[in-house]
Amino acid sequence: MAAISAFPPSVPAPVPAPAGLTRDQLLELYYYMLLTRTLEERLVALYRQAKVYGGLFRSLGQEADAVGSAYALDRARGDVLSPLIRNLGSMLVHGTEPVEILRQYLAKGDSLTRGRELNIHIGDVARGFIGQISHLGDMVPVMAGVTLSFKLRKQPRVGLVYVGDGATSTGAFHEGLNFAAVQRCPLVVVVENNGYAYSTPTARQTAAKSFVDKAAGYGVAGARADGNDVLAVYEIAKAAVDRAREGGGVTLIELITYRRKGHAEHDNQSYVPPGEIERWAAENDPVDRYVARLTGPLGIGRAELSAVEARVRDEIDRATDLAEQSPPPDLADALVGVYADPPAAPLLWYRRGLRG
């Protein structure tokens, strides 16, 4: 997590807070939720300027679910995160820098994928997050194997993988979860139930009353929380991470949230019942709810929140300037690194002499 020193020095002495979090940590959660939302807003601006390549996927209204769950991991201990397209917040918590996200969306040569992949299909195994692919469900067996390696090597490390309500319908989800359950891998599987898979409502995705009902069928622990309450999410995720670390195996967590934007920017959400989005925005925005809680019962002053807001704005402005200056990908790189050996694919015959 970001260095605490980044906060104003004059922070009052920590007071005990919910979920065993310090006052600084409570503010840090706010920082990441806001960073996620603001960064996505910046990306939308760039998208409208046609600077973004590929689809732009929003997590508006889901920031608490992403941030709160990833916050339960311990990067210092080598925990590994497997994010999906709605998990920008999780990635930021786990150490991805805003400038890396921007470079990626702008398809820059110095992005984490060097322009090879789109949106947040990025990873850095050294920093403990694994790049996703489009094919839904695949990351579950992959993370079963990541965490199997922890078990085989007796490392006290934990993995966390997300699946959408829609992705639970894939065979890969089933095979991966079952494998991890049988092997008692230290894995937390978070089902983000945001009501829709593209245009498909949850009721057409499964006949189950809730996704947590699947836990018993795999013989794993199950838990469910309000995905828009960042502290509730953190608590439930932390318990699952601790259980995994102690050898208790897999936990299937269902987080109830709502996808307020379309599947991607192009989607006009014509299929959503009128008023539904507005209701969630007005009554159940995770940032608003958390601000109310911070400034209310948790007794954090508005000034401190403003400081966080200023920091976020400033960081994203600087990151954007930096990212825009990045160079485009280098053509010579296009054929490099499919295999360790050979180091590059051959240039095709009619290009020799012509280019490259």
Binding site: G115, R116, S169, G171, S199, Q205, A334, L347, Y350
Partner: protein, 325 residues
């Protein structure tokens, strides 16, 4: 005769077949209320109702298998892959269950699996694939991949009426970029016949899907700049291949350039080269050569994608080499 886009032609073909034959129905992800990721099935739900336009869970094996079961019972399902890249998730049930149904168990399995395919759209490695080669060694399947609105409509109608499983690949780059006349009435294009897209005498380009248009561009440039007369054969059907048409063009020009968007290694140009060797080796005045994608996963950044995929300039360069051979 009004001009139609490639995408509209597919939608029209689908709607006409659903109109004509009540046993035809569609299933796939987000094809109903939303009308599909590319709006190919837009309006069909309203027209034919939820029993004939079924939104499925995200389960390619699930709904392809379900389509097979329904087909055994006499229905004619049309499955949409949201992107053809996800047909890989149904690879086993298609190649093992569906393809063998008639041979091993005398089970009728008339069904179509269709979806947006191909690159040139900055879609990256998982939204740009050309899977045809992976299915080519599976007897029991048919594969078509049209390049024009007329073929898109006519082949889709033929695919739906075919008594076996047809993989119908639609090139997403062409969806809205290509318009053309579609003959009126019940327009059906038989599976297994290639289309002579351009007549020529000096050299033949054999290709299909989006690269047909690049080949035609190249042919014009070669005529303009080199005075070369280039023939372009649009295969349209990849399984079965139209050996007769391939033989005819080789006999006519004696020089063949194979062009496709799939990777050079393992792409279907290999199969075509083998057939040319077997059928008309003596007629070749030059080696059969390929223009295809470089052997890497398709990168997303525009400059990289353009570098990896075959471009008109590549076809021109390769054709000049062949003509000069």
């Amino acid at each position: 005769m009004a001009e139609t886009t490639y995408l509209e032609a597919i939608r029209d073909g689908l709607a006409e077949e659903m109109e004509r034959d009540p046993s035809v129905f569609c299933l796939g992800e987000d094809i109903g209320v939303y009308g599909g990721a590319f709006k190919v099935t837009d309006g069909l739900l309203g027209r034919f109702g939820p029993d004939r336009v079924i939104d499925t869970p995200i389960s390619e094996t699930g709904f392809v298998g379900a389509a097979a079961g329904a087909a055994h019972m006499g229905l004619r399902p049309v499955c949409e892959m949201q992107f053809i890249d996800f047909i890989s998730c149904a690879y086993s049930i298609l190649t093992n269950y569906v393809a063998t149904a008639r041979y091993r168990a005398f089970l009728p399995c008339p069904m179509v699996v269709r979806g947006p395919s191909g690159g040139y759209v900055r879609g990256g490695p998982f939204h740009s694939q050309n899977p045809e080669a992976a299915f080519l060694h599976t007897p029991g399947l048919k594969i078509v991949y049209p390049a024009t609105p007329a073929d898109a409509k006519g082949l889709l109608k033929a695919a739906i009426r075919d008594d076996d499983c047809v993989l119908f690949f639609e090139h997403k780059y062409l969806y809205r970029r290509v318009r053309g006349n579609v003959p009126p009435g019940d327009w059906v294009v038989p599976i297994g016949r290639a289309r002579l897209a351009r007549e020529g005498t000096d050299l033949s380009i054999i290709t299909y899907a989006a690269t047909v248009w690049r080949a035609l561009e190249a042919a014009e440039q070669l005529e303009r700049e080199d005075g070369l007369s280039v023939e372009v054969l649009d295969l349209r059907s990849l399984l079965p291949l139209d050996d007769e048409a391939i033989v005819a063009t080789v006999k006519k020009t004696n020089r063949v350039l194979l062009v496709h968007e799939d990777t050079a290694t393992g792409g279907i140009a290999g199969e075509i080269t083998a057939r040319i060797n077997e059928l008309v080796f003596e007629w070749l005045d030059a080696p059969v050569r390929r223009v295809a994608a470089h052997d890497v996963p398709l990168p997303a950044a525009p400059a990289l994608e353009d570098f990896v995929l075959p471009q008109t300039g590549d076809i021109v360069a390769a054709a000049r080499w062949l003509a000069a051979y």
